[in-house]
């Protein structure tokens, strides 16, 4: 009950703060537009204009991922810099509740990014949207969001762990575009990359998403893809719980909660 209140309030406050912070607009609007634009120019150059969905939806996915990744990476770090991490650790509400609220707010921004990209796409390429199979598309979208949420919950304590949060965040941005198949099918990647992509839960839900938008080489196997995506998400959540626990014990042992 009270945990929900904390999550809701954190979500609200963070949303308000992020909306007041220009970098969020940049990530939300410009980055997806740039990637979407590059995608459009490339896909329309060759004989592949049938696959424009990869540009229109892909730009949005790139934006969603970047917003989630960067915010999650800095969520705990920001509390540390503000000196509030100690207060959070010392209060009766679990730190994870606060982080869940913060992640929910960045997912909302990410969603706005996806929506903006889709809206632009819809104006210029309405035919892409006629092909969409609405129900599997919506379910796959929701599961993708859920997977991103779970990954964020892993990233947040992980980045608080190392002092190299920023560099790692930078380093993890593009690999996800590749492994998740955000802008082209994972199948075109080298064989040895495939198992890696398989471990990245969003690759399954994104595959389903594109299949529902008419971009699938084979007959879509939604239950399998959704199931694998969900299984990955569950693993991430368990991993996150463990990491939060470890973070707290280590902080209590080393006394370095308040230190950068």
């Amino acid at each position: 009950m009270s945990v929900w209140r904390v999550i809701r309030r954190t979500w609200l406050i963070q949303l308000r703060l992020r909306v007041a912070f220009p970098i969020s607009y940049f990530q939300v609007l410009l980055q997806p537009l740039v990637f979407g634009g590059i995608g459009l120019l490339l896909y329309s150059a060759g004989g592949r204009s049938a696959h424009l969905a990869f540009a229109v939806i892909g730009g949005g996915l790139v934006g969603l991922w970047s917003v989630t990744l960067f915010n999650a990476g800095f969520d705990i770090q920001a509390e540390r810099w503000a000196g509030t991490l100690e207060q959070l650790m010392g209060c009766p509400t679990p730190l994870a509740a606060v982080i869940v609220g913060k992640i929910a707010s960045s997912l909302c921004l990410g969603l706005a990014s996806l929506a903006a990209n889709l809206a632009v796409g819809w104006v210029f390429f309405p035919h892409l949207f006629h092909r969409i199979d609405a129900i599997p598309f919506a379910i796959s979208g929701a599961l993708t969001l859920l997977a991103f949420f779970a990954i964020s919950l892993v990233i947040a304590p992980l980045f608080a762990w190392t002092r190299t949060a920023g560099a790692l965040a930078n380093g993890m941005e593009t690999p996800a575009y590749l492994l998740g198949g955000f802008m082209f099918p994972v199948a075109i990647l080298a064989g040895w990359v495939q198992p890696l992509a398989g471990l990245f839960a969003p690759s399954w839900t994104v595959r389903a998403l594109y299949a529902a938008a008419g971009e699938s080489a084979s007959r879509p196997d939604y239950p399998l893809w959704w199931g694998l995506g969900l299984a990955g998400t569950a693993v991430y959540l368990a991993l996150s719980a463990g990491l939060f626990h470890l973070l707290e014990t280590r902080a209590r042992r080393s006394g370095r909660i308040g230190f950068a």
Binding site: R9, I13, A82, T84, L88, G255
Partner: protein, 325 residues
């Protein structure tokens, strides 16, 4: 019988820090072995110089830090095992300006911490109004914290620490960085809290502060308690000594060293003033020390010499003085 608010037994804390990749590690013994009892209802002051281990004690008691050995029981619960329930019953305020959300208003800060301390919204609202009055932030509570002065932030911190009506409040150097007036106001606030039944555990390195408001104090030095009791009692630990005090010009380290080595001298303190240094020497027989001063000062000029009874500050200085080599 009531449980002790704080009960520390042979409490030990060793910090380990790694220097970086493959560069080994080092240890700092912050608490050697600390025994301490604070009964409920008391305003207790933990005194000590920089690095003595005050903050470490407070962090262990507030569940932010795990002890290396020994036990710490707070409100009857062992802090190593205790979690949420204990945190709900204690409050803590660390001195300084950090630890608030600067981009939110003071009110939003309090409301958010009210949520974190699981207060039902309507109770939180009433409590916030009360506390804002108490700490005197009425006019400014809806301003963003970044526009607060240091003293206002400190008072907001105090309100934050009191939101959930803790049985026991920890204050780590609550007056740090405040001007004398601000510090006095804050002390009065804290005294008032204690008078109304909250147990308060505060740390400070300012002797006067402890003397002014604490029921009982303990002095921690190099991770050990070296004196404890009512301020009077601690002061009397130096009662067998007298104090010789004078202003001097031309004091240097060598001279201070010589003073320290005079027979019977227990502690020497030198405080730099604008033109002169104020030198305080503690010893059992001030009269004979005065006679030895002349040759010892060796050309340095001493004025305003007087002999007086030790204060609590003198007692403290003697307690934490470097042992003579």
């Amino acid at each position: 019988m009531s449980v002790a608010a704080v009960e520390l037994r042979a409490l030990r804390k060793v910090y380990r820090h790694r220097h970086g990749w493959g560069r080994g590690s080092a240890e700092t013994v912050a608490l050697e072995s600390v025994d301490l009892d604070v009964p409920p209802g008391e305003l207790f002051g933990l005194l000590g110089p920089n690095g003595a281990g005050k903050t470490t004690v407070v962090k262990i008691c507030t569940t932010l830090l795990l002890p290396t050995a020994g036990t710490a029981r707070v409100l009857g619960e062992d802090v190593s095992q205790a979690g949420r329930q204990l945190r709900q019953r204690i409050g803590f305020v660390f001195g300084g300006e950090r630890g608030l959300y600067w981009r939110l208003s003071g009110y939003d800060n309090l409301r958010y911490f009210g949520d974190l301390y699981r207060l039902p919204p309507d109770r939180a609202r009433r409590r916030i109004d009360e506390l804002v009055q108490l700490v005197g932030l009425e006019g400014r509570i809806h301003d963003r914290v970044e526009r607060y002065s240091r003293g206002m932030k400190q008072r907001l911190h105090l309100a934050r620490g009191l939101l959930h009506d803790p049985e026991l409040l920890f204050l780590d150097e609550p007056t740090i960085g405040l001007d004398p007036v601000g510090a006095r106001d804050l002390r009065q606030l804290v005294r008032g809290l204690a008078d109304r039944g909250t147990t308060v555990f505060l740390t400070t390195h300012a002797m006067l502060e402890a003397e002014a408001i604490c029921d009982r104090i303990a002095v921690v030095h190099r991770g050990r308690i070296i004196a404890a009791g009512a301020p009077d009692v601690v002061r009397r630990q130096g009662a067998d000594l007298g104090v010789v005090e004078f202003e001097a010009v031309g004091i240097d380290d060598r001279l201070v060293q010589r003073l320290r080595q005079l027979p019977g001298v227990e502690a020497v303190q030198v405080v730099a003033g604008e033109l002169t240094h104020r030198v305080t020497v503690q010893c059992p027989d001030p009269a004979s020390l005065v006679l030895q001063l002349g040759p010892c000062l060796d050309g340095a000029l001493a004025v305003g010499l007087r002999v007086r009874e030790p204060t609590l500050e003198d007692a403290y200085i003697r307690l934490v003085a470097e042992p003579a080599p």
